[in-house]
């Protein structure tokens, strides 16, 4: 798989500012957050997909991780917070747990982004896997503590495996989005 490298910065070229440019820029920069918003909404609908409940956190976490590592300007902390509240309202689990998980993934990606943005894809995948295992373990502990009994372990393992498995697909989608939608001016 080809590694993703951020395009070089070319000084001196600025697009003309205006209302059209502002709207265009705003839509482009809100694409990652809108994606997470709609994924949450759609996956909470009664689609009867197998593993639908576990798929939602998997996709959300991978998306937040990727954008926080490569383009944190498009995935600000406040937006992650709002999306976390939204996911929590729609998911009927213990309140706030999903929110905390999303913020932790965002924080880890943000703090390690100068290293993570340069590493090989497989290393990035491995790091994401480790983060996901930690976060899901935390979710399991919190759910058990809040329910006052040990909840079943296997769904959480499934959630982790699903998140790690869907990472390459989301990575490909992310690279495509970055090249053709967000950074459209880049001719490469």
């Amino acid at each position: 798989m080809k590694n993703f490298t951020p395009p070089p910065i070319r000084p001196g070229i600025h697009p003309r500012s205006g209302l059209g440019y502002l709207i265009d820029n705003g839509v482009r920069s809100s694409i990652p957050c809108l994606f997470v918003f709609f994924v949450t909404l759609v996956l909470s609908a009664p689609l009867n997909l197998p593993g639908q409940v576990e798929l939602m956190p998997a996709i959300i976490m991978a998306t937040i991780f990727l954008w926080s590592v490569f383009v944190p300007a498009f995935m600000p902390s406040l937006a992650v917070f709002v999306l976390g509240i939204w996911a929590d309202i729609l998911s009927f689990g213990p309140a706030g747990v999903m929110l905390l998980m999303m913020l932790i993934v965002h924080g880890v990606a943000l703090s390690g982004r100068y290293t993570l943005a340069r590493v090989n894809f497989f290393v990035l995948w491995f790091v994401f896997g480790v983060v996901m295992v930690g976060v899901t373990a935390l979710q399991w502990v919190l759910c058990s503590a809040l329910a006052l009994h040990i909840v079943e372990f296997l769904p959480f393992v499934f959630e982790t495996v699903l998140a790690i498995g869907s990472f390459p697909v989301l990575y490909t989608g992310f690279v495509w989005t970055y090249r053709f939608v967000v950074n459209n001016a880049d001719p490469s």
Partner: protein, 304 residues
């Protein structure tokens, strides 16, 4: 207001820790004030219920269509089976009619008081809100109908669950397989009382059954009238042993794909009568005074 770059950078670094603290606060708030969170979620679900209905509608149509196609394919075999079943059913119809006649005659001899028919509303399941640790469904209902918390949900063949939250256009039904569901049941052949405890699997366990009267494989399980709002005799399922010493209930209702549910309101069907003959317990700090007819008069003696 102009702020220095250093200050702005420091502020930017503080945002994430502050938000994580707020998230911990949300977790505590969710634990401390559960009704607030539930209200928020039910309002959102209310708003989204029409959209969920739109998603559920084509699915139902598609299932109906594929079911139809399959029916056409199996028509021949189905006909043979139905004919055989019809013969056996006709026999049972005769038996049932005879029994109904006999029952009516016996009841008229006994001055039997008929149960009043409970009120119910029917709704379509728009969303399965089962998470990793809960089994529940969301039901769309007409805003004019009065569904109360504690209503009993049944499908065509048996008990499904109880209403736990009520919104304007939707209600949430906690299924009997949820790990927080505990229902008193009666085992019909062994006449033992037991508790059916959900554990998030498809088969709720039977616990607290008498040790000398173990459940029998295959016997019917019905509710018993121990708790108000849940009448005795509703069909729940039948007993099955996963392994020796571990009896579970196989629910009669199709809990993996609940489609249409009826919510019954048994709220005031059985209320215990006043017991005027009973001696009330004294409140703390006071002595018990007997009712007048039990107070012994020294001149009369106990038998007057």
């Amino acid at each position: 207001m102009p702020v220095s770059i250093q200050f702005r950078q420091a502020l930017g670094k503080l945002v994430l820790p502050a938000l994580i603290l707020v998230a911990c606060g949300v977790i505590l708030l969710g634990k401390a004030d559960r009704p607030l969170i539930e209200k928020l979620r039910m309002q959102t679900a209310d708003l989204l219920a029409p959209a969920y209905g739109l998603v559920a509608w084509p699915q139902a149509k598609l299932r109906w269509l594929s079911g139809n196609l399959q029916d056409i394919r199996n028509l021949e075999a189905e006909n043979i089976r139905l004919r055989a079943e019809n013969v056996s059913l006709r026999h049972w119809y005769d038996v049932a009619a005879a029994l109904a006649d006999e029952n009516a005659a016996l009841k008229s001899n006994l001055h039997w008081i008929p149960d009043n028919a409970p009120a119910f509303v029917t709704g379509r399941v728009v969303r399965d809100t089962s998470g990793l640790y809960a089994r529940a469904v969301l039901l769309a209902i007409n805003p004019d109908t009065a569904v109360r918390k504690g209503g009993i949900a049944l499908d065509g063949s048996g008990l499904v669950g109880r209403v736990t939250e009520v919104g304007k256009r939707s209600v949430r039904v906690l299924l009997i397989t949820d790990s927080s569901s505990r229902l008193p049941v009666t085992l019909e052949s062994s006449h033992a009382a037991a508790i059916m405890a959900g554990d998030n699997t498809a088969l709720p366990r039977i616990i607290f059954y008498p040790q000398d009267n173990a459940p029998i494989e295959g016997e019917r399980v019905v509710t018993n009238g121990e708790i108000e709002s849940l009448p005795a005799g509703l069909p729940v399922g039948h007993v099955h042993y996963l392994r020796p010493g571990q009896p579970v209930v196989v629910p009669a209702a199709a809990l993996d794909h609940v489609d249409i549910l009826r919510i019954f309101d048994y709220e005031d069907s059985v209320s215990p009568p006043d017991a005027p003959g009973r001696v009330p317990l004294p409140s703390v700090g006071r002595t018990l005074s007997l009712p007048s007819q039990f107070q012994s008069h020294p001149d009369q003696g106990l038998h007057g």
